[in-house]
């Protein structure tokens, strides 16, 4: 993962309904950096993440990828992006293997069945391959959704509360994967309400909740 990337916002300002969530948010994130987004319930974390991914239009201001607005280079940006929201984006009627393979194909890199099996091993779901996703438990579903991280080629990961519903083991494995990604020059933006080791001593920490968000670089 040689090329270095850069995600910036300039004077980003978002509102939902008639409520202004934050304004004048400026930060920049480079390859190898983790951004930890904090804030109480309803402070606009999800809104910000969706805006960064290009799913929402900001009220004003811009999101820049390598110096250019993301709307103007949608396909290139999406090629480098992996977004995981509150929803798992899994088909309840297909099993884990089918889900992962088809997901890869839409994303532009089809996987063979072998690779998918290995992936299932990584996320600790061996023995559950043949079950339709809808019959898995809450945490197991989340694991399958997160399996995308294991085989991702994207540089930028945007993760909205990735640790929710995971048990202690899974939380630790996930942290290891994220660390690994950062070490290889990836970028990660995440938000969580749980205390995890990963976020202590983060490079860039954005706290929402006040009118103008607080950005602190460690």
């Amino acid at each position: 993962m040689n090329p270095t990337h850069r995600l910036e916002t300039s004077k980003l300002c978002c509102s939902r309904g008639d409520r202004r969530l934050f304004r004048c948010l400026d930060f920049s994130l480079e390859s190898g950096q983790l951004m930890y987004l904090r804030g109480p319930n309803g402070s606009g974390k999800t809104t910000l993440l969706r805006t960064l991914a290009g799913l929402l239009q900001p009220e004003s201001g811009e999101v820049l990828w390598n110096g250019e607005p993301i709307q103007r280079q949608r396909d290139a940006f999406h090629n480098e992006l992996l977004y995981l929201g509150h929803l798992n984006a899994l088909k309840g009627d297909l099993n884990a293997i089918e889900n992962l393979r088809m997901d890869g194909a839409v994303r532009g890199h089809a996987m063979d069945e072998q690779a998918t099996w290995r992936l299932l091993g990584d996320i600790g779901l061996i023995g559950h391959e043949d079950l339709p996703i809808k019959h898995l438990s809450q945490g197991q579903k989340r694991r399958v959704a997160l399996a995308r991280l294991w085989c991702s080629r994207a540089a930028l990961w945007i993760l909205d509360e990735p640790f929710s519903a995971l048990d202690v083991t899974a939380v630790n494995t996930l942290q290891a994967v994220i660390r690994n990604h950062l070490a290889r020059g990836g970028m990660v933006i995440l938000t969580t309400h749980q205390e995890v080791d990963l976020t202590s001593g983060t490079v860039c920490c954005v706290t929402l909740g006040a009118e103008t968000p607080e950005v602190s670089h460690a």
């Binding site: 290009g54 290139a76 977004y83 929803l87 984006a89």
Partner: protein, 222 residues
């Protein structure tokens, strides 16, 4: 790009086949609607032959419209749609693949079933052939047009019925030419002109609607 298209079609068809009922239910809905009319109207064959093209076409239209709601709903609800919007592929292509899958699941069975129902109404062999032809050209258009409505109403509570309201005015030309083709054949005028009109509409829809649907999808998942 084509690979993504292929995989989406494959995924949707797999899901539909997995719960085999899905394919059958649209079909059986069609069957039931068409069979209900003789019950409501009475069994005289003359009347029935007269109304047959209209009833079969209206039945096909309602059946394919009913199935429309599901087109993007499941994807929207479980977050797959979000991922499609973020995929590094042109969205209209993904839309087309969704529509193709939808037609294979809901449209094609109707086309295959229609002649059997036409027999119930005592239609001639020629009229049945034209009916199949008109459905073959018409139902993909219905799916393409319907996709716009499905995308616009995505996630709105009154989804199913609202789709009907938005989409039916768009369906009317297809209905008129489709039923017209069969009628023209039974009355000895030949349905060629109607059929080529249907073909033209299909082409136009194929070119125009995926863009509108893609735009609507982006709006819907804001």
């Amino acid at each position: 790009m084509l690979e993504a298209l292929f995989w989406i079609v494959r995924r949707d068809v797999t899901i539909a086949l997995r719960r085999r009922t899905d394919v059958f239910t649209t079909l059986i809905f069609f069957l039931i609607v068409v069979s209900l009319f003789p019950l409501g109207i009475g069994p005289e064959l003359d009347t029935l032959r007269l109304i047959a093209p209209g009833v079969v076409w209206v039945g096909a239209l309602l059946a394919s419209m009913l199935a429309l709601e599901q087109l993007f709903l499941a994807d929207h609800r479980d977050g797959t749609l979000e991922q499609m919007l973020l995929a590094p592929q042109p969205l209209p292509v993904l839309v087309i693949s969704k529509v193709i899958a939808h037609w294979l699941i809901t449209g094609l069975p109707l086309v295959i079933m229609a002649p059997v129902l036409g027999l119930q109404y005592d239609l001639s062999a020629e009229a049945l052939t034209v009916m199949v032809g008109s459905l073959l050209l018409g139902t993909p258009t219905l799916s393409l047009l319907g996709a716009i409505g499905a995308a616009l109403t995505l996630g709105l509570r009154s989804g199913g019925v609202l789709v009907a309201l938005l989409v039916l005015p768009l369906y009317i030309p297809v209905l008129i030419f489709g039923a017209g083709a069969v009628e023209a054949t039974t009355s000895g005028l030949g349905g060629g002109a109607h059929l080529s009109m249907l073909g033209a509409i299909l082409l136009a829809a194929l070119l125009g609607t995926p863009l509108a649907t893609a735009a609507a999808l982006r709006v819907a998942s804001e």
